[in-house]
């Protein structure tokens, strides 16, 4: 080997040993360029008139100096972003089609009359920086697919208007009035296409528990919720029109059970029906039934009970929030582990039979047709010290996505994720 060959071999070896470029390089370049331009423009004593146009369909916005701003969730598309040392998360977590759009923690705030209000604090992805920032203005927040917009309710529930929040500017761009519709709104959820909202209405704060209804629990007394759901409204986000229908909290005639103040309502998988979770499994005759019949009722958008769509008969959003896979060929099933092990399962949506047993503790959302984001615990760990993981059908591989939550309810370390399509 001569010197030239050694130079060549050394350079090749050195190049091969160079790790991949940082994932956010493009974002860094554009941000640095924007800053440089902003300084440049500020320094020059000239005024430039910029003509800007906002394209609604494209998830991009224009900032003050006319540059296009890319959403953090958009820039990262196609990449898996994990932060296993972060709990609660600080930086964007994303896999496949899904990203952690926001999360919330809950604390109990005792009132002078000993009532308690379970009060949520939301941390929302800042689409400029890719970091989660506390936004303490809201009692309720949900994020639309595309992660450009959120729907928010102000601190006093039930709320008389729904805010449409721009996740780039963090400003409410529009208020949708909801006065006079069944008391007020206690929860909102987007339809799968993001064009509609389902607003569940209550005549009391659904997050409040009442001392007057206290029950003895473990040698002490705890305030209890009261049934206060009045109905729901289907809201067209574009026009702001709302169509309200009465639907009091579910009561099973014989057992008289309800879900606290009345479970919030969701859209079904394709947004054509209302999904209502109930806390007893009943079959068509109203009798408590075998395990296979899921605890939910489907309704049309006017509130009339309808049979479950064939594909969605076994969707159980209480036990497995992930629901149907994107291609509709599998449905997330409930916990399938034992006393000391965790496991989950996916089911055949037509029969409810198990299609595969998987790792994980609770299936939260489908990242794509083969992978799910789930809660799981570290081997031998506390049952409630869950971290977000990525599990793959047909594989034992578990990829941690976040740090572990603290087990204690109502503590700042116990966060609940809100996912959205990125």
């Amino acid at each position: 080997m001569n010197v030239e060959e050694l130079v060549r071999a050394t350079l090749r070896e050195q190049a091969a040993g160079t790790e991949s470029a940082p994932a956010d390089l493009a974002g860094r370049v554009l941000t640095a360029r924007r800053r440089r331009r902003a300084r440049h423009l500020a320094g020059a004593a000239a005024t430039t008139v910029l003509v800007v146009a906002a394209a609604v369909a494209v998830p991009a916005a224009l900032d003050r100096d006319g540059d296009t701003v890319r959403l953090a969730s958009e820039v990262s598309r196609g990449r898996t972003l994990t932060h296993v040392d972060q709990s609660p998360p600080r930086d964007l977590i994303a896999v496949g089609e899904q990203a952690l759009a926001a999360y919330f923690t809950t604390r109990k705030v005792e009132q002078p009359n000993r009532d308690e209000i379970a009060t949520r604090t939301y941390s929302v992805l800042d689409q400029r920086t890719g970091r989660y920032e506390v936004d303490a203005r809201w009692a309720y927040l949900t994020v639309a697919p595309g992660m450009r917009t959120a729907a928010v309710l102000e601190r006093q529930l039930p709320a008389t208007r729904i805010g449409v929040l721009d996740l780039l500017t963090r400003k409410v761009t529009r208020w949708i009035p909801m006065e006079g519709l069944g008391g007020g709104v206690g929860a909102v959820e987007f339809s799968p296409d993001g064009k509609k909202l389902i607003a569940t209405t209550y005549d009391k704060n659904p997050d409040r528990t009442f001392w007057s209804k206290k029950v003895p629990v473990n040698n002490t007394e705890e305030p209890q919720p009261v049934s206060s759901r009045t109905g729901f409204a289907i809201v067209d986000v574009g026009s702001g029109t709302a169509d309200w229908h009465a639907l009091p909290a579910f009561k099973e005639p014989e057992y008289g059970m309800t879900f606290g103040s009345g479970q919030k309502l969701l859209f079904n998988d394709d947004g054509t029906l209302v999904y209502e979770a109930i806390n007893v499994a009943v079959d068509a005759s109203g009798e408590e039934s075998a395990d296979k019949v899921p605890a939910r009722i489907y309704r049309d958008l006017r509130g009339k009970e309808v049979p479950a769509p064939p594909r969605e008969k076994y969707v159980d959003r209480m036990m497995a929030p992930a629901g149907l896979s994107p291609n509709g060929e599998l449905v997330a099933g409930p916990f399938a582990g034992g006393l000391r092990t965790t496991a989950t399962q996916v089911l055949d949506p037509r029969t409810g039979d198990r299609a595969a047993k998987l790792k994980g503790q609770e299936l939260l959302v489908w990242a794509d047709d083969e992978r799910l984001i789930a809660w799981d615990i570290a081997a031998g760990g506390n049952e409630y010290e869950n971290r977000l993981v990525l599990i793959t059908i047909g594989s034992d591989k578990v990829v941690s996505l976040s740090g572990a939550r603290t087990p204690k309810d109502y503590s700042p370390g116990r966060w609940e994720p809100i996912f959205a399509k990125r």
């Binding site: 001569n2 130079v7 350079l11 160079t18 940082p22 370049v29 554009l30 394209a55 296009t68 890319r70």
Partner: protein
């Protein structure tokens, strides 16, 4: 930058940044952080005129090379280099011997260190000639100089490498042996000090 340009810029960076970073790190004498800075600056410049660029990769590479050899970059103090390898071989001799097969890796370490001590221009010429395998004429065009300058810079860079790492003489010796020429035994040299 409009939405279409931005889309294509993001796609380019996603697909090509690791390859470009490799070149940038080599140009920076193995300094990963300096390499990232170099690449980021080059990409920023390219982003400014993205919609007018026909061949983005060639364009960004040209910025990389020219930026690296431009005068202002030579002014900065040479940064301490971080290497992953331990500074001394396990046997503690620290001496590289070409005859010994295990010495090849050490020689490359010595070479890496010597490369990092070249000037940016010298290093750029070697990277273009021996890593990118470009003919002298292309190197001249990329760096904006004459073919004669490329040739003389290459020659001087190799001579400088030999001066910085005398043990490279062993290579020449072993080459000569292979060619059947009798050479006087090379002089003894002190253990090589490889900087951490």
């Amino acid at each position: 930058m409009d939405a279409t340009s931005q889309e294509s810029f993001l796609e380019f960076v996603t697909n090509r940044s690791t390859a470009l970073l490799r070149t940038a790190v080599l140009l920076s004498g193995g300094d990963r952080h300096a390499g990232e800075d170099l690449l980021q600056n080059a990409l920023m410049k390219a982003a400014g005129r993205w919609h007018r660029i026909d061949e983005p990769e060639a364009y960004v590479r040209q910025i990389l090379y020219r930026q690296q050899v431009s005068r202002w970059r030579l002014k900065g103090p040479r940064r301490e280099l971080t290497v992953a390898e331990p500074p001394d071989p396990a046997d503690g001799t620290g001496t590289a011997t070409a005859a010994d097969g295990t010495g090849a890796a050490e020689l490359r370490l010595v070479m890496r260190d010597a490369l990092s001590r070249l000037t940016a221009r010298q290093r750029a010429v070697l990277v273009l000639r021996y890593f990118e395998d470009l003919p002298e004429a292309d190197v001249a065009r990329l760096l904006g100089c004459s073919v004669g300058t490329v040739r003389s810079t290459t020659h001087r860079s190799l001579a400088r490498l030999r001066a910085l790492a005398p043990e490279l003489d062993l290579l020449a010796a072993s080459d000569d042996e292979r060619q059947g020429q009798q050479q006087p035994p090379s002089r003894d040299f002190a253990p090589v000090e490889v900087r951490p």
